[in-house]
Amino acid sequence: MNEPILELDGLSKVYPGGLKALDNVDLIIRQGEIFALLGPNGAGKTTLIGAICGLVRPTSGTMRAFGHDLATGWRQARARIGLVPQELATDMFEPVERAVAYSRGLFGLAPDPKRIEEILRSLSLWDKRDERIMALSGGMKRRVLIAKALAHEPDLLFLDEPTAGVDVELRKGMWAIVDEMRDRGVTIILTTHYIEEAELMADRVGIINRGKLLMVDEKEAMMARLGRTEAHISLSSPITELPPSIAQYPVEIEKGGTSLCYRGGDGTGRGKAEVAEITKALIAAGIDYDGIDLRESSLEDIFVSLLGEEEAA
């Protein structure tokens, strides 16, 4: 297992109005992973990123990055951290290349036009290098922010809603960029509203709500633990009771006996296998069916269900 590069311990933030934006958050991020932080609006995602990056003053708790306490060794730690903010905040009058070169200098690195060129080319911005940022499209502006964040070659990159307001095609382009960064060994922490995005890219997922980190786990483990398969089998003729051969499965009769509903499995494919066994058992019992509607629960279902449980609590 890779070594931890970020460790949060009991991190809390209470804003002057009394709003508890972070509530005793403990988190460990390991080198090279992509960690997706999921949560509804106002859950505390941006506050968490802000606290680590120096935009927000935590009320209590400790943060360590690359072995440095962020309260005392912030210079050494921040030099290795990059941030792409949610808002398109940059000097719109500045040309692209100069803006990226500025970011490199700001982080104390010597000018390196070749490296800047590499970054701009990797983000398809090279042809736009002399254009003012204000002249670019929204998607391109977001790429400029990524280029600025990469200019000092960070080992840990925060992407706060990187695909917010970006169309599907550009979103896919952004995923490709994240993949490239992962290949280069950059550790990435991203927040997103698109669960599909987390499902596709993240190694681990954290779910946050009302400032509390409700769950952190490997994506596959989370799916296996909380995932479900749901299948509706439409029968050719109605039945009144289940044949004994399928009684062991979590199956119920529905729609006046014209359909069977299976809810089970664990997100690892066991559900699908059980549905296949049920259909074989039905045929063996002389019960015919004319359709199966099968659905695996997504990370989104797990997310919604967890938040629902939290709201109920």
Binding site: V56, R57, A77, R78, L83, T90, D91, E94, Y102
Partner: protein, 254 residues
């Protein structure tokens, strides 16, 4: 330990911002100064007696210089830090491995540079209208730099304090400009009737104008060392306030 590369990046970027509006930044003070010289130097000045042996047209040069210096330095510096706060680009500065030293030397250094360029332009413009010489040129440069540094810091505080454009403009407009006009820019404090000559000494700008005038002509309303002392005191106060702001994150970090 200060990162000079980070400082240089902030400094050059701020100067680039100045150059983007160079035409306006240079033309406005040149035009204003020329108008002052036409009105006060030529039209009215011709009917005024010499003040302390200095021709009236030459007498107002340090005051006019101070008028522009205080206004431009304060606004350059306050805008320099307010705009990133307003547009959200301050995130980059706050998340970078830079502290109060890099930020101050970068922003304040750039504001000072702009002010010194303007001061030079104003002196050249004045030369077109009035014949003058500077008695202590080195002291004059040092004094201008001290005042520029102090008011750059003051502007920086203003830019952090302000949470809208109105507040950003209100201090220079309602306090700085009137105090400079009443601070002996166009007259000697000795010319005021009693008790106004004494009351005028409560205006801190009197000491700044008077100090600069001394470096030009070797005589002034108040002792030069008092002027230096007040300027250094203001500089130290502003530095302490900024150090406090960075330590607490007031209006910078949520």
């Amino acid at each position: 330990m200060i990162s000079w590369r980070s400082t240089w990046s902030i400094y050059t970027r701020e100067l680039m911002r100045f150059l983007r509006t160079a035409f306006q930044s240079v033309l406005a003070p040149v035009l204003t100064t020329a108008l002052y010289f036409i009105v006060f130097g030529a039209a009215i000045g011709g009917r005024m007696p010499d003040l302390g042996g200095v021709d009236y047209g030459a007498f107002i040069i340090p005051g006019l210089l101070m008028l522009t210096l205080l206004g431009e330095t304060t606004s350059n510096s306050s805008f320099g830090i307010y705009m990133p706060r307003f547009t959200g680009t301050i995130y980059e500065l706050l998340s970078a491995p830079v502290g109060v030293s890099e930020t101050l030397v970068g922003f304040v250094g750039a504001a000072m540079t702009k002010s010194l360029i303007l001061a030079a332009i104003i002196l050249v413009t004045a030369r077109l209208f009035v014949d003058y010489s500077i008695a202590y040129p080195l002291l004059a440069v040092i004094y201008i730099m001290l005042v520029a540094a102090a008011f750059s810091l003051f502007g920086f505080i203003l830019g952090i304090w302000a949470d809208n454009f109105e507040k950003l403009g209100i201090i220079p407009m309602l306090f700085l400009t009137p105090l400079t006009f009443l601070g002996g820019t166009f007259y000697s404090i000795d010319m005021l009737p009693k008790p106004w000559d004494t009351i005028a000494l409560a205006n801190p700008i009197v000491y700044l104008v008077s100090g600069l005038r001394w470096t030009f002509y070797g005589s002034s309303d108040v002792n030069i060392w008092v002027s230096f002392g007040i300027t250094l005191g203001f500089l130290a106060t502003c530095t302490a306030v900024i150090a406090y702001i960075f330590k607490t994150g007031w209006r910078l970090r949520a």
